[in-house]
């Protein structure tokens, strides 16, 4: 359980996190979403005790993490994969970290095996690829078998195999009753992993809802139809409260009618359908909708309105 209460963190004049309050519960994967610069890492650093809050509190299992007697078994965290000494092998790195909770070679070898680094355990971490570094960071976070797992952008640099692995791992950890808190700026990834979402933008909480709730917050549900008789079908379906758009021949995007009804209309009129599908708005779209106003770093394209 992670509890953040009225947390504010300022760096000089910059307010990175602005009075946020939320709770991360055990048993589910909680996604922490936000554009770059939204305050995700700052929040995680404060929970971990690396940064001192300007005001407010962050607690792990009911107390500040600094007061933990067995830190690594309470909270395992990876904030950035590069938090290792490049001159040390993966195995020695984990031996040094594990020594703080009195675990040794057996455990280190076990965790290396688990994250798939057993073959390169004796190689210097400096020579690791981004993905291998990420796996070592995850091994570091999990070595103490922690009840709370907090990972900042864990899929960064992982290959598809690795992404699938971390996704399943996080779900398993949550299913065991652990608290799993994972940040990402990749909505598509969160959509597949998280059950609950905390969305942050410009240092403030924009949403703290279940995944379904988050998607439901967005309005755009559509039915896609591909048919050689698209023109005829369009006429039959048209009506009040129905919006039909077509961006290519034979393909319709329908808003306002459920897909079963579309199929029935087509069957009743003997029209051939090549495709009939529902499209929920992707989390990505819902997220863009929500955070449109709170993105700190816009690309120049999004400023077309203000361009001279």
């Amino acid at each position: 359980m992670i509890e953040v209460q009225d947390l504010t963190k300022q760096y000089g004049d910059v307010t990175a996190v602005d009075g946020i309050t939320f709770t991360v519960r055990p048993g589910i994967v909680t996604g922490f979403l936000g554009p770059n610069g939204a305050g995700k890492s700052t929040t995680m650093r404060t929970i971990l005790g690396l940064d001192r809050p300007t005001s407010g509190t962050a607690t792990v299992n009911g107390r500040p993490f600094r007061d933990s007697r067995t830190p690594l078994t309470e909270l395992g965290a990876m904030l950035e994969a590069k938090a290792v000494d490049k001159g040390r092998s993966a195995r020695n790195h984990l031996l040094a970290v594990g020594a703080t909770i009195g675990v040794g070679r057996t455990r280190v070898d076990e965790i290396l095996d688990m994250v798939g680094l057993a073959d390169v355990a004796k190689k210097n971490a400096g020579g690791f690829s981004l993905g291998m570094g990420q796996r070592l960071g995850i091994a570091t976070a999990l070595i103490g078998n922690p009840g709370v797992v907090m990972l900042d952008e864990p899929v960064n640099g992982l290959d598809p195999d690795g992404i699938l692995w971390i996704r399943n791992l996080l779900k398993q950890l949550a299913a065991e009753g652990r608290t799993v808190f994972v940040s990402s700026h990749l909505m598509s990834e969160m959509e597949l992993t998280a059950e609950h979402l905390i969305v942050i933008g410009r240092g403030r909480i924009l949403a703290d809802v279940s995944m379904e709730g988050f998607i439901a917050m967005s309005s755009q549900h559509k039915v896609i139809v591909v048919s050689p008789d698209a023109g005829r079908l369009r006429e039959l379906l048209d009506g009040p409260d129905v919006t039909i758009t077509s961006t290519e021949p034979f393909r319709l995007e329908i808003d306002g009618i459920e897909s079963p009804r579309v199929g029935e209309v087509a069957a009743a009129n003997g029209l051939v359908l090549h495709q009939l599908s529902d499209i929920a708005p992707s989390l990505e779209e819902a997220f863009m909708e929500l955070t449109a106003d709170s993105v700190t770093f816009h690309g120049s394209v999004s400023h077309e309105g203000t361009a001279a």
């Binding site: 650093r45 971990l48 005790g49 690396l50 940064d51 001192r52 993490f65 600094r66 933990s68 007697r69 067995t70 830190p71 690594l72 078994t73 909270l75 965290a77 904030l79 950035e80 590069k82 938090a83 290792v84 000494d85 490049k86 001159g87 040390r88 092998s89 020695n92 031996l95 040094a96 970290v97 020594a99 703080t100 909770i101 009195g102 675990v103 455990r107 076990e110 965790i111 095996d113 688990m114 798939g116 570091t140 999990l142 070595i143 103490g144 078998n145 922690p146 195999d161 690795g162 692995w165 399943n168 791992l169 398993q172 950890l173 065991e176």
Partner: protein, 283 residues
Amino acid sequence: MSATESTATAQNPLGSVVGHPTTMLRVLNSEWVKTRTLRSTWITLASILLVIVALGVISAMVASGDISPQGGPGPGRARSLGPLATVLSGANLAVLIVAVMGSIAGAREFSTGMIRTTFSAVPKRLPVLWGKLIAFTAVYAPVVVIGVIAVFFLGMRVLDAGGAATVNWSDDGVARSVLGTAYYIVGLGLIGLAIGVLLRSTAASIGVVIGAVIFLPALATALLPSSWDEVLKYLPSNAANAFTGNGQLGGALLTPGIGFAVFTAWIVLAIVGAAVVVVRRDA
């Protein structure tokens, strides 16, 4: 991930390990693992021993006329240092090496980012600083002490064989100077470590330790009018000169006892500064 591994993790993803409380002793063990798993530790230890012993023996050979410096007339400048300073001449270089290693030991984790992993494992932080100081001392002090004692007896035998003047271990102030030299070397390493933690940059802390702590006092003593001596003798390396017997720089020195106390105070001051900063500053 192979299929077998996936199956294994499906049953018990993290294994069944139960961690133990993070005590000072466990943090110290962690710092010891870090120290011994860096190859540079062992290379440096070997070079420190080599520098102290080899330079001391060579200086003794030069002083006793066994070998002569290029173009020189045999027993030269080295003899004027006195037998003790001659055999301990490698210590001046060893001081630099240990001070640099101390700076690296203090700053390294901050420059690599490892410190965030370390502070996540030990969020109280202070035990990490104590662990680093103890591990550093445990690794370097024995080698430095063995080095100065070895070179004292080896060097005196060389001087004696060459018919040059020697001193005995039991002579007044000799043991104090030899062991004091070891204390100075290790102490500056600890000051370097503390400054490394304070500045978080390997390069900057090496610069400060070597420039401000080792060279500046010597330079100031040589350049400033003697009315400054009352102040300058309290600077770290000048205070140390009072008990290492290495006071060829002129300038009024403290008594050995007070010099020892003042130098120790500098070490404590640096460590206290590092401790305050480690606890307060965001990592």
